[in-house]
Subunit: 151 residues, 2 copies
DNA sequence: TCAAGCCATGGACGCCATCGACCTGCGCCT
DNA sequence: AGGCGCAGGTCGATGGCGTCCATGGCTTGA
């Protein structure tokens, strides 16, 4: 993981569909060299995936909300997590420090669906209560930040 | 925006580097047809970008936190937003319903950097107070959910 | 019913991904 | 100190792919 790898990562975070030839031009290496470097970054798990980022409204997911989960005292966190994992509406799931053990980002089509999702989460064994905040608008999302050499 | 477009979007959200030929095979069309459809989805703004998803720790961004912002009564929301926008550590920014006007997802290298970021946000004119929660671990992030026909 | 426009098809061409062979610089072992 | 081995690079070739174009069918609207 040197400066060129970081540069490749930044380029791919900006446009994951760049050709190897294009990447090679940008970093001043040959295309096969870039190909090998990117391949190693992929198998090392540094690059997890390449995703198209889509306007959520256009695919019927116009409602975004953040949900905090407070667990029962004595709840099995793994069970709660497993229950959350099978809900496709949960886009992101962070395990947090603080009263609320989990913070979820969820995406649904309508407020009615959000209501159903909240009910389902509240019914999950181990969940004591939830706190939901609805996003009125998304100013930006997943904005890439230049990487740094890890100390 | 028909069923095939949705299918293409789902495929590209799963792997943004699929070749057009591969996409064409999956949806049962010719490569040029797929090329044209994807091009239209891009110019229509449905597909916003193609991004490589990276393990944050490996690029020196091991600390993730969520920050809620409460604005001063009478604060100019646009000014606050403009101030937030120039902070590269803020990965996502949602304008929320509720007491906290903004919910941020931030990514920094160390707790010390997080502290500095919080101070900077609190000093921003229009910001009354903030509430920060640190993510101990990320269970998953940006998990794509199959799109639906928009009603 | 007819016309027009949109979209998929298939072919052609040039670029790109990818493989193999060779080279070079560095670290290590003798 | 010198030689060996390896990691990682360039170069060249080839096969597949992206991309443009002309053609033809289907659907829509008058």
């Amino acid at each position: 993981m040197d400066a060129i790898d970081l540069r490749l990562i930044d380029l791919l975070r900006d446009n994951a569909r760049s050709s190897y030839a294009e990447l090679a031009r940008q970093v001043g290496l040959s295309a096969p060299a870039v190909h090998e470097r990117v391949g190693k970054l992929e198998t090392a798990g540094t690059i997890r995936a390449y995703r198209a980022e889509v306007e959520p409204e256009t695919i019927g997911l116009g409602v975004t909300a953040l949900i905090g989960i407070i667990e029962d005292s004595g709840a099995d966190t793994d069970d709660v997590l497993a229950a959350l994992r099978v809900m496709p509406e949960i886009e992101s799931c962070h395990f947090m420090a603080g009263v609320e053990s989990y913070q979820l980002t969820v995406r649904v089509g309508t407020i009615a669906e959000l209501e159903q999702l909240i009910v389902r989460i509240n019914r999950t064994p181990g969940v004591a209560s939830t706190r939901t905040a609805i996003a009125l608008s998304t100013k930006w999302e997943n904005r890439p930040q230049p990487g740094r050499e890890v100390a």
